[in-house]
């Protein structure tokens, strides 16, 4: 399978400069996702000529916060509102902030508070 991909770990304060660089280099924003373990793992995925570059950063489970990239990639507001609604991550300076109403769900941050997402049982 020809699916080239790379994961690059960053610190939170390096995110914006790296995303800006990728925008200038002609990368397309593919997705932003979050995974919970003992920390929150954020993956920002970008594509250029079928090469997938993932910028990864980790946030603590308590009061997770990250800077928005919507100044660079305008349409990232969907992913960032999803991060807020499902994982309770506060995204600073997001261009279209739904303030928790992007997904009309009953529970706040269900993916952050659920234990079922991590460490499945049987060996």
């Amino acid at each position: 399978m020809n699916m080239n991909q790379e994961i690059k770990e960053l610190k939170e304060n390096e995110l914006i400069s790296n995303v800006s660089r990728l925008f200038k280099e002609g990368y397309r924003l593919v997705q932003i996702s979050c995974s919970k373990s003992d920390k929150l793992q954020l993956d920002y995925s970008f594509d250029k000529e079928y090469f997938l570059l993932n910028l990864r950063l980790f946030l603590s489970l308590e009061n997770p916060e990250v800077q928005s990239i919507t100044d660079i990639y305008w349409s990232a507001f969907t992913y960032e509102n999803e991060l807020h609604d499902l994982f309770g991550i506060h995204v600073r300076e997001i261009n279209v902030d739904f303030k928790g109403n992007f997904y009309r769900i009953q529970e706040d941050a269900p993916f952050l508070n659920s234990d079922s997402i991590q460490h499945g049982g049987k060996e």
């Binding site: 020809n2 659920s114 079922s116 460490h119 049982g121």
Partner: protein
């Protein structure tokens, strides 16, 4: 300055088979801004990784959506197979392509029917779905299901198509293609359809790329990106090009789908001709440990799965970024500045699948 009014669009609307809500800020008859919101059918399927083992998660993934079920199942299988370094038998790879392309044809025919209905062509709508029904019969005969195929599994496929049956299937497909040829002419040449879809829902090449559009929405703006070109499954052995249009409007998105149906027929013929003999699955032992991003081409565009295994039967994380979710930003941009009367056509033009977007 004219006064501004907010008009709620959806979650119930004739062009929306599934619920999404848009607040349309209008000035006279022009849409100034569209603010989307979701969550009416959010199911939290991704959380089931803690309760279902990785084999069962294939069934869950297929149920993300009733139209793209085959490729959802295939996507999670690919990710797990890559992590576990499983080499799927060649015959299974070709069968996956055949079923994927059947899935694409039936999805596009469904959309063309809805588009015809939105343009006021009820008989054309019925013809599209009549043809689609014939294809669903082949899918049912070969997989046992009409929309949820259930044929993909980690390590290959659950079913085979006998070589003796392939010939008959190809004859039926050629009949369907001939029938479709007549219908496609209406979409291509009819004045009313052309007039209804052209210069509506404009999305420039630059915007389509920068806003992260995918699938026919991206390709209709002249950007040649099709994940099948990465060569996953047996696509590397087949000849095809990513189909693009340059009109950057709803008509372009319609034409990409019209042409992709012919391309899918062709890919099925190629795959059937090259279908190797041999087993369709291999035994899978052990549990996945590692992570992988899988990207495939759904009928609506690029889909991304992030799969992370921790050595147990349960995945640690399964995340699906579906094409409709990626096309929401571009949709909002298309709606800004359009006429209120064009909103239904523009929303329809991205082929919205809300059950995919909400997972």
């Amino acid at each position: 300055m004219a006064s501004r009014t907010i008009i709620p669009f959806g979650p119930q609307h004739p062009v929306l088979p599934e619920p999404i809500h848009l607040d349309l800020v209008i000035e006279d008859e022009k849409v100034i801004e569209a603010v989307p919101s979701f969550g009416f059918v959010h199911r939290g399927l991704e959380l089931l990784v803690g309760k279902k083992d990785f084999h069962q998660m294939v069934y869950i993934a297929e149920r993300i959506c009733g139209i793209c079920s085959m490729i959802h199942g295939m996507g999670i299988c690919y990710g797990i197979e890559h992590i576990m370094k499983i080499d799927v038998p060649e015959r299974a790879k070709y069968l996956r392509v055949i079923w994927s392309e059947m899935s694409r044809i039936h999805s596009h025919l469904l959309w063309l029917g809805l588009a015809a209905d939105a343009a006021g062509y009820e008989s054309l709508f019925m013809h599209c779905w009549r043809i689609r029904e014939k294809l669903l019969e082949i899918i049912e005969a070969t997989t046992g299901g009409r929309v949820i195929f259930g044929v993909c599994k980690v390590g290959g496929t659950r079913r085979d198509i006998a070589n003796s049956d392939i010939h008959g299937i190809l004859i039926t497909l050629k009949d369907i293609e001939k029938d479709y040829q007549n219908i496609s002419k209406v979409f291509r040449d009819d004045y009313t359809i052309n007039h209804r879809f052209s210069n509506v829902g404009f999305l420039s090449k630059k915007d389509a790329f920068e806003l992260g559009a995918v699938g026919p929405t991206l390709r209709a703006s002249g950007v040649s990106v099709d994940m099948r070109k990465t060569g996953y499954s047996a696509y590397r052995h087949l000849e095809f090009e990513a189909l693009t249009e340059n009109s950057e409007d709803c008509y372009g998105r319609c034409m990409v789908r019209v042409r992709e149906i012919f391309q899918s027929f062709n890919l099925i013929y190629q795959a059937a001709e090259k279908l190797p003999n041999g087993p369709v699955d291999i035994k899978v032992t052990g549990n996945p440990e590692g992570e992988y991003f899988t990207r495939l081409e759904q009928p609506r565009g690029e889909v991304v799965y992030y799969i992370k295994g921790n050595g147990t039967q349960n995945l640690e994380r399964f995340r699906a970024r579906t094409p409709t979710f990626a096309n929401i930003g571009p949709l909002v941009r298309m709606l800004s500045g359009c006429d209120l009367a064009d909103v239904p056509v523009i929303v329809l033009s991205i082929d919205p699948c809300i059950s995919c977007a909400e997972r």
